[in-house]
């Protein structure tokens, strides 16, 4: 019964998560009716946004993140092994 209630609450929350953005977006349908030149401008705006993969800054961010994750995983593993070694040497 507990599992059912958890699944039910999860379902309701997931549904809300998916429905709200759709409903909210439908409200301002008419706000953005750009055609022709406006549309081309919009496409260009999208091409310019973000920090693309492969650029210097992009690579620094991506490899920096991967390195940070690697370091934290290694640090965690080191902490566990060192505490195990300590406890085995005590006994």
């Amino acid at each position: 019964m507990k599992l059912i209630s958890i699944v039910f609450v999860l379902f309701v929350m997931v549904s809300v998560v998916y429905i709200i953005p759709v409903a909210y977006a439908e409200e301002d349908d008419d706000e953005d009716d750009r055609e022709g030149f406006g549309e081309m401008k919009r496409e260009r705006e999208h091409q310019d946004e973000g920090i693309p993969i492969g650029t210097d800054v992009g690579n620094v961010i991506l490899y920096g993140t991967i390195a940070a994750i690697g370091v934290s995983v290694a640090y965690t593993a080191f902490k566990i092994t060192s505490s195990k070694r300590k406890s085995s040497s005590k006994s």
Partner: protein, 173 residues
């Protein structure tokens, strides 16, 4: 036995129903203008869920640790916090799962605008999610300790928060 069967039927019904709920959202993804608004909103849902799920939980843990450290006079507060710990933990898990899936859907729908900040954010979110699942569902003692240490690492939390802020700033430009 029959109770279990009814439960399974109900779960199957909910899964089927969710297939009716999610496709309309995905269908909008083909329509450029409306889709981008929806997908952006999904991103904000992920950010909101993350803030609501984590800020009270981290604050509660900090207060609990502080009260345990300071001793007798504040022990009552620590006891009170212990009674509400489980519901708040469940709330934390549930909202974070929703935030994770909303964020991933947002990322998958906008994958043609993929940049390094978004990719880094997806990687960090997945690491946090996997360590959380490891912490919750594994029975091995070592995996539990590993999950606990990795999930609670301050560096990863700071990295996640700064990537979210960077993603919002870069996305808004």
């Amino acid at each position: 036995m029959t109770n279990k069967k009814t439960n399974l039927k109900f779960i199957a019904f909910l899964i089927l129903l969710s297939f009716l709920v999610i496709p309309p959202t995905l269908a909008y993804a083909d329509d450029d203008d409306e889709a981008e608004d929806i997908v952006e909103n999904l991103g904000w849902v992920a950010v909101g869920a993350g803030i609501v799920a984590n800020v009270p939980f981290i604050a509660m843990n900090k207060i609990r640790r502080y009260t345990l450290k300071t001793g007798n006079s504040t022990m009552q507060v620590a006891k009170q916090i212990r009674t509400v710990y489980k519901p708040i933990l469940n709330f934390h898990i549930m909202l974070n799962s929703i935030g994770y899936f909303a964020g991933m859907t947002h990322g998958l729908m906008l994958s043609r605008h993929l940049d390094s900040v978004s990719l880094s954010l997806a990687i960090v979110m997945s690491v946090m999610m996997v360590s959380g699942l490891l912490l919750k569902y594994t029975s091995s003692r070592n995996s539990k300790i590993f999950g606990k240490l990795l999930h609670g690492q301050f560096g990863l939390v700071i990295l996640l928060a700064s990537l979210v802020i960077l993603h919002i700033v870069v996305g808004d430009d």
